[in-house]
């Protein structure tokens, strides 16, 4: 709306900015100004003159008051209607909440679960380091080495020693991955039909480990040779179970197993609400 028009006010005519030729004059002048550089200086001079004219003309249009033209209003009745009167609804059992509030599955629960799972992964990993290589830095460097990709053909002793870069990179990778996977858990677990802990805590880590096992050969073949996949799986399962339990505890009250799949996905739809308020329907 124009400044001088308050919303909702009506007059017989509507003020709109009047048509004007000054913008095109100014634009043409500016173009000629530049075109003179590749043709002749006189073109530039002409462009400059046109620009000054255009600028002055434009200026006089808006100052002290903007020039308007009055457009007579033709009021037409514009019906807004549709032939599709009916709206289908997603039918859900009576008595359930229809419009799931976001708080039911807070995003923070996924982060919490991920962090808790991340802590839970550490003991088995360090234990493996101590038992197999007598160094707690071994697993840290294995993880960190995936990021420090220019680490060429390290020996086992290399990996068992302390490297601050390895520790740094390992921490970054570890916590990022944990939070991300935790978020995924937070989102997915409530959708799983039953036994979310079994599915999310055991089967998913097994699948995940299998996938990593096959991918690691490409991502970093050198380190692939040094990874003990059994121990790897154990620490993954630790993560899965702890993260799953933490996530599930956050909303155990709300995750009614009888909910339909759509609801567990947290779908937001007005149709669900309509079903709830039977009396509103026509």
């Amino acid at each position: 709306m124009n400044e001088q028009q308050k919303p909702g006010s009506h007059t017989e005519t509507i003020h709109l900015p009047a048509p004007t030729a000054w913008p095109i004059v100014l634009a043409f002048g500016s173009t000629l100004l530049f075109a003179g550089l590749v043709t002749s200086p006189w073109i530039s001079v002409l462009g400059g003159i046109l620009m000054v004219c255009g600028a002055v003309g434009w200026f006089r249009l808006v100052l002290p008051h903007e020039v308007h033209e009055d457009i007579p209003v033709v009021v037409e009745h514009i019906p807004i209607e549709t032939t599709r009167r009916e709206v289908e609804r997603i039918v859900i059992p009576e008595g359930d909440r229809a419009h799931l509030p976001v708080e039911t599955y807070p995003i923070i629960s996924g982060i919490k679960g991920g962090l808790a799972g991340g802590v839970a992964m550490i003991p088995p990993a360090l234990l493996y380091g101590l038992i197999a290589q007598h160094s707690i830095w071994y697993p840290v460097n294995l993880l960190g080495g995936a990021g420090v990709a220019n680490w060429r053909n390290p020996t086992t002793a290399d990996i068992a020693a302390f490297h601050w870069q390895g520790l740094l990179v390992a921490n970054v990778i570890h916590w990022t991955a944990c939070v991300l996977v935790g978020l995924l858990y937070g989102a997915m677990l409530p959708m799983l039909p039953r036994r979310p802990i079994l599915l999310g805590g055991v089967i998913a880590p097994v699948l995940w480990t299998g996938m990593l096992h096959s991918v690691m050969g490409v991502v970093n073949p050198v380190l692939d040779e040094h990874i003990a996949w059994g121990w790897f799986l154990i620490s993954q399962v630790c993560f899965g179970v702890v993260a799953g339990v933490v996530v599930a505890r956050q909303e155990r009250i709300r995750t009614t197993q009888s909910l339909p799949f759509l609801m567990r996905m947290g779908i937001e739809t007005p149709g669900l609400v309509q079903e709830h308020k039977e009396d509103d329907r026509k």
Binding site: Q5, H10, A35, I71, V75, H99
Partner: protein, 563 residues
């Protein structure tokens, strides 16, 4: 339900203004002096379509030359001018005006405004863009005249220094390129300022930012984005001109200047520019997919977040165009990561569009056909984009026909397809007449087939080591079969575009009368007449959700209850 007519009903003179025949000169005068956003939007659109035909003709010439090895259809000099002008035209004289065509025509209608925030600046921006374009094309007849195609730019649209310096590009070819694009660049900046001021300051009552239709949201982000995208190019072109006219040394490698600085500056503009161009496609897709699936857009806030996310991430990825210039390995790794991060918000958009269609009732009208093809091609383009982001593989693919195929999947497969979709969708609003569905389907299928013939095969010739920018190639390289297919596909696309042009013109005069709301849509522009009166809305609208027309059509079940 209550018949809520205007409160001022009867208070006004309802007799329509006298219908009067306008002479041609009067009509022309009214278009030249107009400051009306709808007329300017249409002029932007006509300019784009005109230059699309010109740039398309250049592409056809290029494809005829490359159809067979060792061809002599055009000289190498002419070929270099053709592909330089093809790229420059398509990006700056087709893509950029399209952004403003949509933003001008649709955004004020969608947000219930009477005009853009700065109507005169709007006209000024348009004329700058148009004159800049004509200035660029004057280069064909400027200089030594038509012989040897004048002094049209021949340094690729990247214009890598030092090839553009006086020593290697004597004459004015490069000057035309830089000067004309500076002119259109100023027009673009004016247009961008206008869009953001319009969206921030002109929304109708009740339309908070999170109640803007997604189309307007995307155009708003695009308008703001343009301001920081086009300006680095303007700045570096000024530097180039300082080098060429005043003897500066910015890119003069003999005097300590750096060729890589130009590359960085160019791609700081050049990469986000692609997103500037593709945003209107996202915007149109978001409207068309909703309406033809009969469902509200899935995850509106996530779509808004994704578009802002794409804009943010895309300004830190420019050097993925420069993996081959010998950056450090850490630098390469950084740009691999940042580039792949763009894929995440882009993925969200694709998934949300899919989820919008999921559970809907999809009507396969021409706009929706183009939108579905867009989804498919945009997916492919994203995946080839991932391949190109892998720096080591990029060392092989960069500058090859694979890259050509990839970015034409975006520029044609996504943008041009969605532009066609948008034209079929909003043509009834702008003209009051429907476009022919029969011709539309012919147009779609021919264009779809031609597109895939051309650009799918181009990937493979890229794998086989064919570099871009070459005017000919030896017969023993095994590239000729694919190149012939590519050229045939190009011709088919050309035919499809001619069908479209015919459809456009014939529907303008003979199309079925559309009515105000032919698609049964949900945004404000369908709540006024077709074509809209010059003041858009007789009464200022008030809205309470991002689908105001849904609220009115389903008063028992309106969106605002769930806002």
């Amino acid at each position: 339900m209550a018949d809520q007519t205007l409160p001022i009903h009867g208070a006004l003179d309802l007799t329509p203004p006298r219908e009067r025949e306008h002479t041609l000169l009067e009509t022309l005068h009214s278009w030249v002096t107009t400051v009306d956003h709808k007329k300017l939007g249409l002029m932007y659109m006509m300019m784009s379509i005109f230059f699309l035909l010109v740039g398309g003709a250049e592409a056809i010439f290029i494809r005829i030359q490359l159809a067979v090895p060792n061809n002599h259809f055009v000289s190498p000099q002419t070929f270099n001018r053709l592909f330089t002008m093809h790229g420059t035209t398509m990006v700056f004289l087709v893509g950029m005006p399209l952004v403003f065509a949509w933003a001008n025509y649709i955004v004020p209608l969608q947000i219930g405004a009477r005009d853009m925030a700065f109507p005169r600046l709007n006209a000024f921006s348009f004329w700058l863009t148009l004159f800049g374009g004509l200035f660029l094309y004057y280069s064909f007849i400027g200089g030594p005249g038509l012989y040897g195609t004048g002094s049209a730019p021949d340094v690729t649209w990247w214009a890598y220094a030092p090839l553009t310096l006086k020593a290697f590009s004597p004459g004015h070819a490069t000057d035309y390129w830089a000067l004309a694009l500076i002119v259109t660049g100023f027009g673009t900046i004016g247009g961008g300022i206008n869009i953001i001021a319009t969206v921030i300051s002109m929304r109708c009552k009740g339309m908070t930012l999170m109640r803007m239709p997604l189309f307007s949201w995307v155009m708003f982000v695009d308008g703001a984005f343009v301001l920081i995208v086009i300006t680095p190019l303007t700045a570096s072109q000024v530097m180039l001109l300082i080098d060429r006219y005043l003897g500066g040394h910015f890119f003069d490698t003999q005097a300590g200047g750096s060729a890589t600085v130009w590359m960085h500056f160019f791609w700081i503009f050049g990469h986000p520019e692609v997103y500037v161009l593709v945003f209107p496609a996202f915007a149109i897709a978001s409207e068309v997919i909703q309406v033809f699936s009969r469902k509200a857009l899935f995850g509106y806030p996530a779509m808004v977040a994704a578009i802002i996310g794409i804009a943010f991430v895309s300004v830190s990825v420019w050097a993925h165009h420069m993996f081959t210039i010998g950056m450090t390995s850490a630098g390469n790794a950084f740009f691999v990561l940042s580039t792949e991060l763009v894929g995440i918000p882009t993925g969200i958009k694709i998934f949300n569009w899919l989820a919008t269609m999921w559970g809907g009732k999809i009507r396969f009208a021409t706009p929706m056909l183009f939108a579905i093809a867009f989804l498919f091609q945009f997916l492919c383009a994203g995946l080839t984009g991932i391949m190109l982001s892998i720096a080591p593989w990029n060392w092989q693919l960069h500058g090859s026909y694979f890259v050509i195929a990839h970015f034409h999947y975006i520029l044609v497969g996504a943008i041009v397809f969605m532009v066609f979709s948008g034209i079929y969708y909003w043509f009834p609003k702008a003209t009051g007449r429907m476009m022919s569905e029969t011709l539309g389907k012919w147009h779609f299928w021919l264009f779809f087939i031609g597109f895939h013939l051309t650009f799918d095969t181009m990937h493979f010739v890229g794998f086989e080591g064919m570099p871009r920018w070459i005017y000919t190639y030896p017969a023993d390289r095994g590239w000729q079969n694919i190149n012939l297919v590519v050229s045939i596909g190009g011709l088919i696309q050309g035919i499809a575009v001619l069908i479209f042009a015919y459809n456009l013109i014939s529907s303008l005069f003979k199309g079925k009368i559309a009515g105000n709301d032919p698609w049964d849509a949900w945004t404000l522009e369908w709540a006024t007449t077709s074509p809209p009166p010059v003041y858009n809305f007789a009464t200022d609208p008030v809205v309470r959700s991002w689908r105001p027309l849904w609220d009115l059509k389903h008063p028992e079940n309106p969106d605002w209850k769930y806002d």
